[in-house]
Symmetry: C2
Subunit: 160 residues, 2 copies
């Protein structure tokens, strides 16, 4: 972790919500995506593994969708914390879930370079956060995302 | 494989295109999604593993996006084969890639039951196929997908 960064949002999800395949610190098989607040934006970086391929030489679109999904939920959580006047790490991060996920694949994403996801909140209310993301590889934007995040419903939070 | 089914579309992708994390028969780490033609629809079935979780008890949204993605590409391939007057298995299946992926998460998807994806082609042209999918678990539709598939560009097909 870069010392310039804030702590990762996902590190402050309550333990019950830390099993996510995409971003749960407690999922041994998962991707462990980490989201950092940088000013008005959030940033996540990820180096795909060799088997995260679609066509040889290019990143699998489902991985890109997964990265955008989890990073957007953490971006929504960071926005909610900011709205509450808190910084990441001062309290457990609120857990949002995805109501809708849209990914545009602008050009093939090369497999090899680190991927960078930069997101901002397009609209915020406590019940609905819209997050917009640009995903880039080797300096080129290869995919964009627009994700609707909503607070975790009671039906999900109560099931163990 | 159920004998009522046709052969899986993915089994007829050329070997160069059979490494996809989602549906490549040659990706040892992947999901190996299989798509079957049933009349006017296509169907895929998948049982998530325990680590394919979001919140405990529920399926990870990125996995749902991945299933919809690969199943939609195979549905586009099947539509192209039908348009060419061929059945799946009579020739190598054409490889489509995803231009845009939209997933609506209608309700949480329980982790445990087999997931069923049923898709149909909403519009078809040789250069652009729109595929609509319903994903269900235990008889309830929990997510829908709308995916734009395009034939694999030369820039992807030529890179090895």
């Amino acid at each position: 972790m870069n010392s310039q960064h804030s702590a990762a949002v996902q590190d402050f999800y309550p333990e019950d919500f830390a099993h996510c395949y995409g971003c749960g610190s407690l999922n041994a098989h998962g991707l462990r995506i980490k989201t950092y607040v940088e000013g008005e934006e959030t940033v996540a970086r990820f180096v795909p593994l060799a088997h995260h391929t679609a066509i040889p030489g290019f990143v699998y679109g489902g991985l890109i969708a997964s990265l955008i999904d989890c990073h957007s939920m953490a971006t929504a959580a960071a926005a909610a914390e900011r709205a509450a006047g808190r910084k990441i790490g001062e309290a457990p991060a609120p857990r949002f879930v995805t109501a809708a996920l849209h990914v545009s694949f602008l050009q093939p994403t090369p497999l090899g370079p680190e991927l960078t996801l930069r997101s901002h909140v397009q609209s915020f209310s406590p019940r609905k956060v819209v997050v917009v993301t640009e995903l880039s590889a080797a300096g080129k934007t290869t995919a964009t995302g627009e994700v609707i995040a909503v607070p975790i419903p009671g039906t999900m939070a109560s099931r163990r």
